[in-house]
């Protein structure tokens, strides 16, 4: 589910802005670090979980407004370089602000420990993350499918010029799309922090998987991103249960297998 969350965010940005956002992993890491600091400041996990991704969304707005927008005319290569550079800057920034040494953030006391599900033993916090991520994915999907602005965003993915000709402020749409993508990356990071801990390079590990999800689902295809995120998560879990050594390889094996049969991705048309 977390993969799906990262995938949707990246897919929105890739689809609407037509650039592969290399800073997506860094935004994911920022979400985790914001959560950590907010818990230190506020002493409340839930409030921090609410605010941290909003902060990342705001950073997303700043990146789009201050960085990507001036480069629209310069072309894709420059935007791509910008997001790549930003990912390095954010990662180094994390080292400067929070130190290069990793940290642990415990789940809230309510969600510590595990529960016996009969067939297996599972941590409460992971169950919470599963439910929360499923609700967020559902929320994002409903927003994109059922609201007017969601429809505009999807239209923007399909045909930017037409949307612009219809009198819609395409630049505001771009900003909104980037902010939403950043928000989703931020919340995925914040939710992940108690599971995987915090380290400056944590975004790099996730970025690769997010790109796999986007490519597998079909570039810019949101339903595809959800399906691909789930597919990879399930494949990884199943393989790990029987052949643990291959649990990382399976991510890329699934991608290769699907792309061989459907080069455009699961739901892709391009």
């Amino acid at each position: 589910m977390l993969y799906a969350l990262m995938g949707i965010g990246l897919s929105i940005i890739t689809g609407v802005l037509n650039i592969p956002n290399f800073a997506h992993g860094a935004l994911f890491a920022l979400g985790a670090y914001f959560l950590f600091t907010l818990i230190q400041l506020l002493g409340n996990f839930w409030l921090a979980l609410l605010l941290a991704p909003l902060g990342v969304g705001l950073i997303g707005v700043l990146i789009e407004y201050g960085g990507i927008r001036p480069l629209y005319r310069a072309g894709h290569d420059y935007q791509l370089l910008l997001t790549f550079g930003l990912s390095l800057i954010v990662t180094e920034g994390i080292i400067v602000v929070w130190s290069p040494v990793g940290m642990s953030q415990l789940p809230p006391p309510l969600l510590r420990g595990g529960v016996d599900l009969g067939i297996t033993f599972y941590p409460k916090y992971r169950l919470f993350v599963m439910v929360a991520a499923a609700l967020l994915v559902l929320g994002a999907w409903l927003f994109l499918e059922r609201t007017r602005y969601g429809a505009i965003m999807r239209a923007g993915i399909e045909d930017k010029e037409m949307v612009s000709l219809l009198g819609i402020d395409i630049h505001r749409l771009f900003t909104a799309a980037f902010a939403l993508g950043a928000y989703l990356a931020g919340i995925a990071g914040a939710l992940t922090a108690p599971i995987r801990g915090l380290s400056p390079g944590m975004g790099v590990d996730m970025l690769g998987i997010a790109f796999v999800v986007v490519a597998l689902g079909g570039l810019g295809n949101l339903l595809g991103a959800i399906a691909a995120g789930l597919l990879i998560g399930v494949a990884q879990a199943v393989v790990a249960a029987y052949w643990t050594e291959a649990s990382t390889v399976v991510i890329y094996a699934v991608m290769a297998a699907v792309l061989l049969v459907r080069p455009q991705g699961l739901f892709g048309i391009r």
Binding site: P100, V101, G102, M103, S104, Q105, L106, P107, R112, G113, G114, T120, F121, Y122, P123, Y125, R126, P194, I195, R196, G197, S199, G201, M202, D205, Q236, A237, A240, A241, T244, E245, S247, T248
Partner: protein
């Protein structure tokens, strides 16, 4: 203006061509200064360790005022990217173009085995610290030395001490990093465990750089062990320990980190996760030797926190190399290799002796038990050293049959 003769032009051309090939630089380096290469991971899976390794080596060189045997030391570093290909390429470049004759590092066992081959081929001195037994074992040769305790020494210290404290904990589940270091330590943990009647109810291997441990922990929980034992390192170990806690296995069950970096890993874990954590390491900063006390003091003054295994290893290896140069009264590789063989000193972790037949440094290994949160006297007061062991690898296991010639 002075005119150039044909002879002058030829001379200049010769010098320029030579410079292009790098010869004069190397010759100069050989004569005036000793070039020491710190081959560390600044990127890749062990990128978090590179900077602290660099600190350790610099401290050891600074202690000597960057001089040895009347010559000045030139310290250079290269990023091995935690990859064998990059490490060997950069090591060769440093030897060929910068005249490096002494290589310290790299940090990853798998990468170090490749670099050891470079040292052999290029005939340069190489000191390494890590968990693979092959450098002082099956792939031993005259130019490479091992600073870390033998995986056997480590396994013996950890298993014996733990079983003394928990004689009933006989069902062990192992979680092993799937590369040279993990295999070596696993082999001896099982070997020593046999003597205690330990039943290994599971042993899963995970790739280096694994970040998703839930599946391994689910399997471990299913095996109903008395103790979970990790043989992994760095972020892998930290992520694993965190996940084992999240599943609620610790602190009910004890968790052993067999071969840990100590401080660098422990600081990343919340005190709640460290409860009932038992840690084996090649160094812990409360080690009670004169050299360690001095090293810890100057490291803390300079960097604001206690050193872990990584900077200690870099510091210790550099000191051993310099001690070998002193013993040899020379900085020529062949002399230093001969002097290092059999070198015996009271150094960082206590009595240290380099076994001439295998190039294994015989030395103590530490086993610690982490403190509960309320027993900690400060944020860095992680653990008490409960045992040190220095049982060397028994002869029947020694895989280094012939160390070869220079």
């Amino acid at each position: 203006m002075r005119g150039y003769t044909r002879r002058d032009v030829l001379k200049l051309g010769g010098v320029a061509a030579g410079a292009g090939l790098g010869f004069p630089a190397v010759l100069r380096a050989q004569q005036k200064e000793v070039v020491m290469l710190g081959l560390w991971s600044f990127t890749g899976a062990f990128s978090d360790v590179g900077p602290v390794l660099d600190r350790g080596m610099k401290l050891a060189l600074d202690e000597r005022g960057m001089k040895v045997q009347g010559k000045s030391i030139k310290y250079i570093t290269r990023d091995d990217e935690t990859k064998a290909g990059s490490a060997t390429r950069r090591a060769e470049e440093a030897v060929d173009s910068d005249g490096a004759k002494f290589i310290i590092g790299p940090w990853s066992s798998g990468v170090a085995l490749a670099v050891s081959e470079v040292a052999k081929r290029k005939k340069v001195f190489h000191y390494f610290s890590g968990g693979t037994e092959d450098i002082a074992g099956a792939r031993c040769h005259r130019y490479s030395f091992q600073w870390a305790a033998s995986p056997y020494t480590a396994a013996k210290t950890v298993v014996d001490t733990f079983m003394q404290a928990n004689p009933k904990a006989k069902r062990w589940h192992l979680l092993v990093a799937d590369y040279a270091f993990g295999w070596s330590v696993e082999k001896y943990v099982k070997e020593v465990g046999k003597g205690h009647g330990i039943e290994f109810v599971g042993a899963d291997r995970h790739p280096l750089g694994e970040r998703e441990f839930s599946n391994y922990v689910t399997k471990a929980a299913g095996n109903k062990p008395d103790v979970v034992v990790m043989i992994n390192f760095g972020l892998d170990a930290v992520t694993g320990a965190r996940e084992i806690f999240n599943f609620g296995l610790t602190p009910k069950l004890p968790l052993i980190m067999t071969w840990s970096s100590g401080v660098e890993e422990l600081v990343q874990l919340a005190p709640e996760i460290r409860e009932n954590l038992w840690v084996g390491s090649n160094f812990y900063y409360t080690a009670d030797t004169p050299v360690a006390r001095e090293f810890v003091k100057s490291y803390q003054t300079r960097f604001g926190g206690p050193p872990g295994y990584a900077p200690a290893a870099a510091y210790g290896m550099t000191r051993m190399t310099l001690a070998a140069m002193d013993k040899a009264r020379s900085t020529e590789v062949a002399d230093v290799v001969k002097a290092c063989e059999g070198l015996e000193v009271d150094d960082l972790v206590g009595r240290m002796r380099v076994e001439p037949k295998t190039h294994q440094t015989l030395r103590p290994y530490f086993f610690m038990r982490c403190k509960k949160k309320d027993a900690m006297k400060g944020p860095m007061d992680f653990a008490d050293i409960i045992a040190t062991g220095s049982t060397p690898l028994p002869v029947e296991y020694a895989a280094c049959k012939d160390i070869g010639s220079l």
